[in-house]
């Protein structure tokens, strides 16, 4: 018995190998999140933490409109960004999967992923250059004589945040949809045509339903992280474009009120998780029986 | 001759699944031994327990008198040719063949010579520098063979080595494997689900079903005297006929054919209902001018399947539910009958096989 015996079975060896990553994630992810939960029930007392259990942070969250307004705005922005990104990405993924020659596919994927790997901060900042008062769009439009005065509604508001985020998360949306489309057995599409469907009805009756797992993954992979981004709203949003992540960041780093920040983070995370789960449940029928 | 490999009540469980159920087996030195059975019956599992790639749940395996319990694959005097060949794709052909010589004390030059010899033995002389992943299926297989044989194991284990090859290649490799085995004198244990392959190549065959050995015998015995209905069904074609014992000296009554005497050496059950088997080639359709047969009955042709060298007829005979399968050589001048023709059918009681279960 004991360890020697354990390592003899392949399952046992697999378990031993999985232990380091598992314990790492446990120590640096699960336990810290538990700590956040704990903190959210405490309060900041100037420089020290008052560790008596209280719901004060949560009460403050729901009493002061600022928090709920920010959270609502965050969810809305993430929702719109997700919608825009996925809708814009689908045709690209479809084109890649169905119209690009197999040996060219990895080149296209490569081209699509490159911008994603380049400095996020600088990319966001460049949108400021594009959308700004003296930016590319304004100088272009003025130069073309279409407008006399620079447009000001395209920077420092929620629209700018949405455009920038939609750009930043584009590859995240394309890849899962592409993978799902690639997995579709091409003979299914031929079968559908053979059974009398047109190209368009085949798309809606066969291709789209079969690509749902990819679409769902794309939605989640865009929606969830956008909630946690404070860089774009900070740089692009102006006063009216701040989001809940900015508030969390402020609580922790400027106001030095970790318990309040923790409570906000917890509420935000619960909302995101609930929405994500609800979304998955709604699409359950498309996901069943497939990896 | 003493046994080189000895298995005693070997059991293997995968969780709840009982893959090997009490395997008892003796394999002699220098033998060409086959494990034959349908997919999933545990052939690969049995082979892997001998190779040491799989631990037995209980029971013992001895090789050359030595108990193999706790001896890892790399310390056993066995080598394996894998079903997928498992040729190392990042190495050249020569590096593949020489892989197992890493700890061999011989000099580099001697090893290189050994590798070249092994390659020549499998007909790949001069291929040493090729990259392994650019080889064809048949060539990969030869590399896998050379790689194992160069280590001069006591036992070579082959897991369906020919199943990935096309028919012509397969038949050629069958002959070549037999030649190799005679040349090197190593014990070969071949796993296959192809009965013809097993019959052609082996000295002895163990037929497996559901993790158990159904019958262990040489090819001829296996074909002529299958121990039970399952073995008979798996090897070759067989007509099954219900019958009844008439006395204890071998007199029986066979449905549709009538009274018959069983060959004397067959072990007889106590009595009552029995099943007998008749191979299609022991039956014959009688044409005008054929010599009078020992026994004869009449039937109607229900189906004709033409194979070129042979024709298979399904012949309906009164008193038997299922038509009898009859195989006929397509000799010169012999016509092929049409469905619906009535015909005389010759049979021979010496060909009757009494089947248990």
């Amino acid at each position: 018995m004991g360890l020697g015996n354990f390592t003899k079975s392949e399952g046992g060896r697999a378990a031993m190998l999985l232990a380091p990553p598992f314990f790492y994630a446990l120590a640096l992810l699960a336990l810290p999140i538990l700590a956040v939960v704990l903190f959210s029930f405490w309060t900041q007392d100037f420089m020290t933490i008052d560790t008596s259990f209280t719901l004060a942070n949560y009460r403050e969250f729901f009493d002061k409109p600022i928090y709920t307004v920010l959270l609502g705005r965050s969810l809305m922005v993430s929702g719109i960004v997700t919608l825009v990104t996925v809708v814009l990405a689908f045709p690209v993924a479809y084109f890649l999967s169905f119209h690009v020659r197999p040996e060219r596919k990895s080149l296209w994927l490569f081209l699509i992923t490159i911008p994603f790997w380049t400095s996020y901060l600088i990319r966001v900042f460049l949108w400021k250059v594009i959308l700004g008062y003296n930016g590319v769009i304004n100088s272009g439009l003025i130069g073309a004589g279409i407008i006399d005065e620079p447009l000001s509604f395209i920077l420092y508001n929620v629209n700018a945040v949405i455009i920038t985020l939609a750009h930043a998360f584009a590859p995240f949306a394309i890849l899962p949809i592409f993978v799902a489309l690639e997995k579709i057995d091409r003979s299914l599409i031929e079968a559908s045509r053979d059974l009398g469907e047109t190209r368009l009805t085949t798309f809606f009756r066969v291709t789209l339903p079969l690509s749902m797992p990819g679409l769902v993954a794309a939605v989640l992979i865009v929606f969830i992280p956008t909630i946690g981004d404070y860089v774009t709203p900070e740089l692009m949003g102006g006063a009216g474009g701040k989001l809940i992540a900015n508030m969390i960041q402020t609580q922790f780093l400027q106001l030095n009120n970790a318990p309040m920040g923790a409570a906000i983070a917890i509420v935000a995370m619960i909302c995101v998780t609930a929405i994500a789960l609800a979304f998955v449940m709604l699409n359950r029928r498309w996901l069943r029986g497939r990896g | 001759m003493t046994a080189l490999i000895e298995l005693k009540s070997v059991e293997k469980h995968y969780g709840d699944y009982h893959a090997l159920r009490g395997i008892d087996l003796e394999i002699r030195a220098g033998e060409f031994f086959s494990l034959l059975g349908p997919s999933g019956c545990g052939k690969t599992t049995l082979l892997r327990t001998i190779a040491g790639l799989e631990e037995v749940s209980s029971g013992t395996i001895r090789i050359d008198g030595r108990d193999m319990k706790g001896v890892a694959a790399n310390h056993r005097p066995t080598n394996m040719v894998f079903q997928s060949y498992a040729v190392f794709p990042h190495l050249s052909v020569a590096e593949n063949v020489g892989f197992g010589l890493r700890r061999d004390p011989r000099s580099k030059v001697e090893k290189a010579r050994a590798v070249e010899q092994a390659l020549e033995m499998v007909g790949l002389g001069g291929y040493g520098k090729r990259r392994a992943h650019a080889l064809s299926g048949g060539q990969r297989q030869r590399v896998a063979l050379a790689r194992a044989l160069i280590l001069e194991p006591k036992v070579l284990l082959l897991d369906e080595p020919l199943s990935a090859l096309d028919r012509l290649m397969r038949e050629q490799m069958q002959l070549e494997l037999m030649r190799l085995q005679r040349q090197v004198g190593i014990t070969f244990i071949l796993v296959t689900h192809d009965q013809e392959e097993a019959l052609v190549m082996s000295d002895r065959i163990a037929v497996m079903f559901d993790g158990q050995i159904g019958q262990l015998a040489d090819p001829e015995t296996l074909y002529r005297k299958p121990a039970n209905r399952r073995v008979a069904q798996f090897i070759g074609k067989m007509n099954f006929l219900p019958g009844r014992m008439l006395d204890q000296r071998g007199a029986i009554e066979v449905a549709g054919l009538g009274r018959a005497e069983l060959a004397p050496e067959q072990a007889l059950p106590a009595g009552g209902e029995i099943t007998v088997g008749l191979r299609p080639e022991t039956l014959a359709i009688l044409f005008d001018g054929d010599t009078a047969p020992r026994r004869e009955t009449r039937g109607t042709v229900a189906e004709v399947v033409y194979y070129g060298d042979m024709t298979y007829y399904e012949v309906r005979v009164d008193g038997i539910d299922r038509p009898l399968t009859v195989s006929m050589k397509n000799l010169i001048g012999r016509p092929v009958l049409e469905v619906g023709a009535t015909t005389r059918l010759a049979w021979d009681e010496r060909a009757l096989v009494l089947l248990t279960a």
Partner: protein
């Protein structure tokens, strides 16, 4: 031609993706402090300013160190998980693998906040490069696993058994056969983890110590309009560097496939 509208759309989409980056070199070589059109003239002195900036050099040094450590540790953890993933099942395996991949779908700010609380308030540690490394390893490991999964799952399991059957121990079979075959995956995993870590800001901003990482330093620069051309110059260098690293990673990935004799089916992830 069939699919022409789609092709046009896809190319426009690529232009949209590349539009901001295309501006970088324009302003990096533009002889004006203000980042706006029209362009003024050609200069390279923003790059000269970069070279002379000691604080920046220090930040770059920090980031390179963090990225290198992250690449090593994330890849080691990734190898463990990916290899376990390709091996036999055991109870709870799927759940554990899913849990390890969780950082991929967690808002980064949650990771940042939770680690900040643990490091500062619970453990009372001083923030340093190592706190950033700990967090980056956490978020890079899922990427490493995804890349290495491809490498390990493409392997024929009997390859390693064949090596053992030919006389190698479990360990030397891994070293002689499996490792060379997954090496391209390992290299590309390290490059990807390196690139992610080098660029990561959201978490680093929370966990960075007295010496900022490069993105944190850039964030500081963004507030000073006079520094913006320097940021453009730096950005140009970074983009070039990323592209080079990615090209190398991609080449290694392809070589891995070629070695294992597999047809190429797609890019990263």
């Amino acid at each position: 031609m069939k699919g022409l509208p789609l092709r046009v759309y896809a190319i426009l989409y690529l232009l949209f993706l590349y539009a901001p980056i295309a501006l970088l070199p324009l302003f990096a070589f533009n002889d004006a402090t203000i980042i706006a059109f029209p362009l003024k003239g050609f200069t390279t002195h923003w790059f000269g300013d970069l070279a002379g900036n000691a604080a920046l050099r220090q930040a770059v040094g920090n980031s390179l160190f963090i990225a290198a450590m992250t690449a090593i540790f994330a890849t080691l953890l990734g190898i463990c998980a990916a290899r376990a993933g390709a091996m036999a099942r055991f109870p709870g395996k799927g759940g554990i693998l899913g849990f390890v991949m969780l950082p991929l779908v967690l808002p980064e700010i949650i990771v940042a906040v939770s680690l900040l609380i643990v490091m500062r308030q619970v453990l009372g540690l001083n923030l340093s490069n190592w706190t950033v490394i700990a967090a980056h390893v956490l978020i890079c490991t899922p990427f490493s696993i995804a890349i290495l999964n491809g490498a390990f799952q493409n392997l024929d399991p009997s390859i390693e058994e064949a090596a053992m059957d030919l006389g190698e121990s479990r360990l030397s079979a891994f070293r002689l056969v499996t490792l060379p075959l997954v090496m391209p995956g390992i290299v590309s995993s390290m490059l990807i983890a390196f690139t992610i870590s080098l660029d990561e800001f959201i978490i680093a901003f929370f966990l960075t110590g007295a010496n900022p990482t490069m993105p944190v330093y850039i964030w500081g620069l963004l507030r000073f309009p006079a520094q913006l051309p320097v940021v453009m110059a730096l950005g140009t260098i970074l983009v070039t560097l990323s592209v080079v690293l990615l090209v190398i990673a991609e080449l290694f990935r392809r070589r891995g496939l070629a070695r294992a004799g597999i047809k190429d089916t797609g890019g990263f992830l």
